[in-house]
Point group: C2
């Protein structure tokens, strides 16, 4: 199978609340593929999509109940430590939950974590070894 | 914040088992950023990374316990319905869990789901409205 990931779909408990988070805290613009039931954000090469958790589970024919750590993180890499600090400052001002304050990481980077309304973790990081186009 | 996602990290319970899945069932090649503790696969514009779940939770300073539906799916879009069928046939032969057989979806596409060793769901789909480069 080709090394390709087309869409990450987050199953959300409150679509309006999640849309508010991604559009008003992150400042992202939705793609015109979006409709009242599902929202898409075009990122670098992939889409992030928001869809009600119950509906997502139903589509995959799995149970919708889940608790605790959901076992994955998404990382947004910034271009400098300052950009990480600035993003976290701005998120704090907007009332976003800061899960871990920016800190020097053992792997040589600079890292922090925030949570979206469903507790999905976004690492906001600077990695000097990874070039951002 | 720019509309960018750099890395998706899956917190896995058995790193060797997950590596076997992504390298021998999916046939993916790891990036040279990988080491004994963490593995990266370069995809279209982003990396998928595998990291022990306990370590990932520790890094994010959250509890590592989680059960049930983890609330997200990853989609790999193929270029045709036949390619979806061929991929699912090949996964079945390799012993991959087929969660949902390929079917015509209400949104006009053709969709199926498989699970990785931790139950992370991959939708294998064809979407006639979405161009794959």
């Amino acid at each position: 199978m080709e090394q390709r990931l087309t869409i990450i779909t987050l199953g959300v408990t409150d679509l309006k609340k999640s849309i508010d988070f991604y559009e008003n805290k992150f400042g992202w613009k939705r793609s015109d593929m979006s409709n009242d039931d599902i929202v898409f954000y075009q990122l670098n090469g992939i889409y992030l999509s928001l869809y009600p958790k119950d509906e997502l589970a139903k589509d995959a024919t799995v149970g919708s109940i889940g608790n605790g750590f959901n076992g994955f993180t998404m990382a947004h890499n910034a271009r400098s430590e300052k950009e990480v600090d600035d993003l976290i400052k701005s998120f704090r001002e907007k009332g976003v939950e800061i899960v871990k304050e920016p800190h020097k990481a053992f792997w040589g980077g600079y890292s922090s974590y925030i949570a979206d309304p469903d507790g999905n973790l976004w690492e906001i990081a600077y990695n000097p070894y990874l070039k951002i186009d």
